[in-house]
């Protein structure tokens, strides 16, 4: 390949065998050729620009103290505190969402690939999850609000002053967030199970193991990387979502627990996460302190990069072997839709 000709910066002239010289091509074909080079490099430049710009802005406004101080209501950026509450909020919501979506998604995928009877039910659940992956998160959020504002679910949040159920709490936001991650976990696990050769299962049956034991002791351990990358992708979706937080967590300045019980009270209370913190501190929200927004967005971006790197690591080992670029691009697909 022509890798040696790469020089950083300007588009390098591709060193190709003679037959690939473009000089004999009609002009339109050559335009297309250069346009495709330009877009490829352009995409890299956009990504680099985002990371660099956020990095410069983020690092210049980021202080260690921001991580440990709570947000405070103030018009001045020097007094508006840090984002310790949003960080705790992000961790809490992600934990709740993942704890629900991971076992549920893996369970459904196992049922789908290993049992899958009756067939109509299997087909229905697959299409339903595919649809769920396409539902805008803001719609999921308003559905959640509708459900969690029912009287009998008041133990999950709190009663408003007027007597109605508020419907906003960490638990509620986490539960709805799990719907974002569920299709990813499902699709990733199902893909990995489909890639396992049948002889693995047959070998286990031949040893006299039951189907359940085979799943628990043979199949699940061997698809661990696939499951894990689905879960990590799901976590990425949860961390990055703002609409559900705004509507179901209240996106308040501080995390406000309900009652005196330490952990349960906090889970029933309202709060904020990094995404809603960025939103509220941008000119679109009320806070309007750019420095805080940039610093928090930088932390958010770092989290995303970290999760990305984790998925890369996970897909490098495991049944996919050394995943090729195209295979890893399939992981991008999974971020949007359980893909067949």
């Amino acid at each position: 390949m022509a890798g040696a000709a790469l020089s950083p910066g300007a588009p390098p002239a591709p060193v190709r065998p003679l037959r690939e010289s473009t000089s004999s091509w009609p002009i339109l074909d050559r335009v297309g050729y250069w346009l495709s080079w330009a877009t490829g490099i352009g995409l890299c430049l956009i990504a680099a620009a985002i990371v660099l710009y956020m990095g410069i802005k983020g690092l210049s406004y980021l202080r260690l103290s921001l991580f440990v101080t709570s947000p405070a209501p103030s018009l001045h950026q020097t007094q508006s505190g840090g984002f310790s509450d949003p960080i705790i909020g992000t961790l809490t919501v992600t934990a709740i969402g993942t704890l629900i979506a991971a076992p549920l998604g893996v369970g459904l995928a196992v049922w789908f690939s290993e049992y899958g009877r009756p067939t109509w039910l299997a087909r229905a659940i697959e299409s339903a999850l595919e649809m769920l992956a396409g539902v805008p998160s803001v719609v999921l959020a308003i559905f959640g609000l509708l459900i969690f504002a029912q009287g009998f679910l008041s133990f999950l949040s709190q009663r408003a002053a007027t007597g109605g159920v508020l419907g906003q709490s960490f638990v509620n936001a986490g539960i709805v967030m799990s719907a974002l991650a569920l299709p990813l976990v499902f699709a990733s696990t199902r893909e990995s199970l489909a890639q396992l050769p049948d002889r693995t299962r047959e070998a286990s049956y031949a040893l006299g193991k039951t189907r359940a034991t085979t799943i628990r002791r043979v199949l699940l351990p061997s698809i661990r990387p696939g499951m894990a990358s689905g879960i990590v992708l799901g976590m990425g979706r949860i961390i990055g979502d703002t609409a559900i937080i705004t509507i179901l967590l209240g996106a308040t300045l501080k995390n406000e627990p309900v009652g005196g019980t330490p952990v349960l009270g906090a889970l029933r209370g309202t709060g904020s996460t990094l995404t809603s913190y960025v939103f509220n501190n941008s000119p679109a929200g009320e806070g309007n302190s750019h420095e805080k927004a940039y610093a928090a967005a930088f932390v958010l971006l770092l989290l995303v990069l970290l999760l990305n790197a984790l998925v890369t690591r996970l897909t490098e080992g495991g049944p996919m072997g050394r995943a090729s670029g195209a295979q890893r691009l399939r992981m991008v697909l999974l971020q949007y839709l359980p893909w067949k």
């Binding site: 390949m1 022509a2 890798g3 000709a5 790469l6 390098p12 591709p14 091509w25 074909d29 297309g32 050729y33 346009l35 495709s36 080079w37 490829g40 995409l43 990504a47 985002i50 710009y53 459904l108 196992v110 049922w111 789908f112 049992y115 039910l121 229905a124 339903a128 649809m131 769920l132 396409g134 539902v135 805008p136 998160s137 803001v138 719609v139 308003i142 609000l145 504002a149 990425g236 990055g240 703002t242 609409a243 705004t246 509507i247 995404t275 960025v278 941008s282 000119p283 679109a284 967005a297 958010l300 971006l301 995303v304 990069l305 998925v311 890369t312 670029g325 691009l329 991008v332 971020q335």
Partner: protein
Amino acid sequence: MLGALAVLVLVLIGAMVVTVLIKAWPSFAHNGLRWFGPGGEVDAQTRAMREGTALPGHSIYYFRAWPLIWGTLVTTVLAVLAALIVSTLAAIFITEFAPARMRRAIEPVIRLLAGVPSVVYGLLGILLIAPWINENLISNPRKQSVIYVVQLNGANLTTGTLILMVMITPIMVAITTNALASVPSSWQEGSAALGVNRWRTIWRVSLRTARPAIAAATVLATARALGEAVMLAMVSGGSAFSANPLDGLTFLYEPVRPLAAEILQESEGLTIGALSHTLYAIGAVLLVSATFLSLAGWAAKQPLKRYGIRA
């Protein structure tokens, strides 16, 4: 037991569709099909519902969603068309022209662009791109020319569409690359053997084979663009204005507000009587559209199976 779990999830998803539709019904019932049509200002209508005082001569439920629907259509269609061109070219570059080292570098780039949270895109848009567009692209005479109708600033249709394009390009690149890579190389070799140059071969053979995948990618990207609320709420402008293409170039600098962004911006009103029904009606429209797009995506993928391409 796992089967019961499947039934439970299925019931929950079904319940979601049903409850949102039920909650939305009063808004549709009071407005009829004209709910989707033009008529008056959306912001005035939602304000009336929030304050509980009906607009003179209308019921409290009076709502005409056209400016929002138009905003959704314009941003989605423009962004998807732009992303279609960019992603096809980028996918050709990745599968055919990129040197091996660069190909390895571009994959994390696509993943990164796909993974950046929309609120970060929104922040960059509102603090970086919108001010730049406001200062450099929108001239003062242009602002003056429409001052009595709408105020132009950097947060507008162009900004929203541009960023939306960057957000949906990765998925289209991923799907198209995937399909182009699985076109049998013997087909390309056959074309090359006939003396067709590389670009024509890609254009006539590979892209044609990958066409269903490109269609599926377009449908998926549309679904994503349709549901994008946060970024568009931040950068597409402050008012639910129905940008007018007859305004010529000014059209590109007029504010719009898509359906999903409207729910987010009025989220305080989700518990207020008539307004809540209206917002759930908007949600129902999004939900139904998403379902149809999901169906369309499934249909678009079918021809691929004929070639044995897993896409």
